[in-house]
Symmetry: C2
Subunit: 273 residues, 2 copies
């Protein structure tokens, strides 16, 4: 069982990626895909006259402010566009893909974060009306039901709160939660760089392996979204996933290359290459 | 087993509709929802700078020209916005809804219509690059798998061609295909009028019942989208659905009212009220 997190549909080539999934499934592997769509959401939000707003948290992280309108645009783009284009492409390659998002069958359930503590013009303030969340439960039985009947789940990064509200969640951490819940052997997090770089953006400075206990020490090397990948990796390993590989999604056969150890492999020491 | 076709999310109140579905499911009924989203697609298409184009077929029908860009906007709106808002609302009411569209698990499979024969400025011409289709097969086993495990399918009107291309399909006819495939007892087609009107828009001229063999004779009374509803009704009855009720989606408890016979009931003579 392999869980693969991919980006949106641009940047990372959808064609080689889907071909790679088809190859693995043809070889009898079970694969679950989790995808993103933030960049495309920003583009569509701009066009619809509701440009994205980014805020800085008190801990210094920059993140998107998801008001209700942004959430609905995000849902539209990730569940209706990115997800369906992936399902279409996979179906064209003979993979019986089924697109889902967190609210479907309460696949991904969690806590809504309805306010953000931010810093604006040097002042701390609380920003209400946020529609994002943190996953606390995965409906594994729905995933197994589909997998056992030959379907390949393709999951959009939305969740449902305990109160039944749709929320935006981080795709890397959603993939980590899914991998942990399924007891997956491997979680592959595809990126637009070859893995964690010691000296960003020098691709020659790729860090090839990290022992499970050492991840914390590598956070200083992570830029931007790479931090979420390390966080997801930590969560997945803590919850029993064998190894996490952060790898290059731009290559041919990106998943097979990752499985062969190309990228940053984070695992129990005994599982490192 | 009841299959219900609703419109998009505006016009027909999503709130009373979802409450009605929750009530029926609470009473042990199995319900499958099929929805639309054309109006909302037109609005978003305009905003995204790709306004909808309507064409007149050689037989005089006006329909949307679905080029690839329109298809992707349509998918985004119906599968990502309308579908997820319905799933969210139903989940909030305790209904374990799962949103799907035709490409998911090849739920709705059919023939792509890639060219339209149209009349423009009095001249006949063939318009290529169309991405719509006609449903020929429903993956009933996927629907039963979900229903048997307590999930309520909510279906967006997209299908997949035999070649694996995503296509736009008519929601009323999709609902008819689903009802027929499931051997549903009743198909409810909700509208923004009380049913088929003999003297449109006089709501007092509601036609209360039509025998199965007589539908053809009533086509002249149908305006606009009502024609598709009569066509869907004909197809559903031919394929074994017990009765089709075209009813008012704007009312409180719209489904229960329809099931009680409020609307235009089309059935075998023995099943008419």
């Amino acid at each position: 069982m392999i869980v693969v997190k991919i980006g949106g549909v641009e940047g990372l080539g959808i064609e080689p990626l889907c071909a790679d999934v088809a190859h693995l499934i043809g070889n009898g592997e079970q694969v679950v895909l989790v995808h993103g769509g933030s960049h495309r959401t920003n583009v569509i939000s701009e066009k619809l006259g509701h440009p994205p707003r980014f805020v800085t948290s008190v801990s210094g992280h920059v993140s998107r402010y998801t008001d209700r309108e942004t959430l609905e645009i995000f849902a539209m783009v990730v569940a209706g566009q990115v997800n369906k284009l992936l399902v279409e492409r996979l179906q064209g390659l003979g993979v019986n893909a089924v697109g889902l998002s967190g609210p479907d069958g309460r696949l991904l359930e969690g806590r809504r974060k309805s306010a953000l503590k931010i810093v604006e013009k040097g002042k701390r303030k609380v920003l209400r009306g946020e529609w994002s969340g943190v996953i606390q439960r995965v409906n594994v039985s729905l995933l197994r039901l589909l997998l056992d009947h030959g379907y390949t789940p393709v999951i959009a990064p939305l969740a449902i709160s305990h109160e039944g509200e749709m929320v935006n969640v981080d795709g890397d951490r959603a993939a980590a939660a899914v991998a942990a819940a399924l007891g997956a052997e491997t979680l592959v997090l595809l990126s637009n760089v070859p893995g964690l770089l010691r000296d960003f953006p020098d691709e020659g400075s790729l860090i090839r392996s990290i022992g499970r206990g050492e991840v914390e020490a590598y956070f200083p090397y992570a830029r931007g979204r790479m931090k979420k990948k390390l966080l997801g990796a930590t969560e997945a390993l803590e919850d029993g996933v064998g190894r996490v590989i952060i790898a290059d999604g731009r290559a041919q056969n990106p998943i097979r290359r990752a499985l062969a150890g190309e990228g940053t492999v984070i695992a129990q020491e005994s599982l490192l290459f």
